[in-house]
Amino acid sequence: MNVKSNEARCTSCHAGYGWKGKDFDFADQTRVDCLVCHEQTGTYKKFPAGAGNPVKEPEVFKGNNKKYLPPEWNKVAQSVGRPTRKNCGTCHFFGGGGDGVKHGDLDSSLIKPNKTLDVHMGMDGQNFDCIRCHSTTLHNIAGRVYTTPASEHRKSLIEDDLASKITCESCHSNTPHKQDAKANDHTDKVACQSCHIPTFARVNPTKMWWDWSTAGKKKNGKPYAEKGEFGKPIYDTKKGNFVWAKNVVPEYYWFNGSIKHLTVNDTIDPSKPVKINRPVGDKDDPNSRIFPFKVHRGNQPYDKVNKNLVIPQLFPKGKDDQTAYWKKYDWNKAIAFGMAYAGLKYSGEYDFVKTEYVFPTTHMVAPKDKVVACTECHARSDGRLTKLTGFYMPGRDASKVIDFAGWGVVLACLVGVMIHALGRIFTRRNGRKED
């Protein structure tokens, strides 16, 4: 799945504002929509399939049957101000085509959150906007970058008052707990988020599973959609099956701030789940910490012969489009077109492969009385960190040999003294006074 061949839809948010055709210069930094971030009337609405543009005349979008009106340009333009949670959320809460589809820790519940959902952003508390941490210098926004860590030095503002505020340490330092608290000893190996975000998607559900292989089913010859628990779609002819979940416990990986991405050029091993991206990090790397992730799993098409993921054309280019999946429901045609469009080869044979995509979890920081308890990780089995092996964790790890031998000796002592005691009771002597 890729922006390519689906630009009109994806460029609503992804770079490509005003996309018109293949010759669009994605590197042109003037192609950025000012209003989506800065307008404050809340009436500036992009048409979902308008390459980031609002409509010129009122128009209904078939995908959601909503009517989109042209903005009142004067009002919108005059309202510009500091971006609010709502501005950022317009894209970041709705990635992947809907509320909470991509990130588990970013969804519309953060537009008006309470303290329980996010201790910093809660309107009944600190009421932080996104830009309180994602501070900017000349429109360069502090945040995570795909390939390089957002912040390698983990400096606090006390050490460097110009440090970006993007890490927890920036404000809280790396010894944020009470002096001598054991929790302070964790900060070298465990990210703050690991304990302070016990679960994500605590108000709105997030999508955990997307099975493209079941797409294309029709009812009475027509595409259909079905809603399930939480009122969220569980089937859509265009997209296949979904699974949504709330209060999801994250999965934990060593993470140094970088994420490695697979591309369509990479060869995959379809015999096991393909990691479309994966956190970079290792237990022995001093810059890596145990970090919580939402792992979105899916089943998506790949090239059976060339063993690589494919780029299907989903979005129809017009009324007469003969290849788009969302028009003809033929994967082969959609993939052939998408791959040709992207200049890649396609063998003509596809199948579906299980995939995994990680999203770092860093928002929805819970109040301190809701943090992850010690024994959720320091547990013999079924702990949160059961899968992270190769290092000793108190309460989780033990040596079977030492435990077996140790209890053996203890038991032998117990049995020994009991036999001895019985012997004394039986002989009734032991030098005690005789009555």
Binding site: R380, G406, V410, A421, R429
Partner: protein
Amino acid sequence: MAVNNNLKNIYLYTRYERFWHWLQTVSIILLLITGFELKGMYTLFGFRTAVEVHSFVGNTWLIAFLFFAFWIFTTGEWRQYIPTTKKMLLVVRYYVYGIFRGEPHPVPKRKDAKHNPLQRIVYLILAAILLPFQMITGLLYWGYNSWPQWGLSGLSLTVVALLHTAGAFAILSFVIVHIYMITTGHSILAHTRAMISGWEEVEDMEAVEDWEIKTKAA
């Protein structure tokens, strides 16, 4: 039996010794209880409290042990721990046989010889090897985050933790046998009472049996 007719009260344990003994008792019990909780065997204090109690008691014990080491060397009490093979077999024979026959203990306690040969070797191993071993592995475990500053980056937490666990099993085993052995005085609680008041009733030297004196002379 003749042995019980001649009991003599002697002041065996000084105030400091008794204090040290019971301080260690409380420390060891707390450390064992919290330690095995941290090992994931049960929930009693709760993990966080168990960590705090274990660290605090461990460090307290370590500091107190330094005072004990000072005391034992300045008072010359360390001599009570010099191991000997003399009468060792007799003591062993007593615990596996004589005790059931009502025989007297072959090495009655005296002020200048509080420990029988078996106790000497056991307490030497305990005080000079096992407890310091447990304190050192515990201190290292506790200081895990400071290893780089201490120049110990090469140390393995797995090794330290497992050694500490093994030490704990050894101490637990000692505690079991020790608690049982203190019931083998001339009454069940005689030894315990002595460790509380300092006074112990011991057999009068005059009353020891002939065979023992012979052995002594030999």
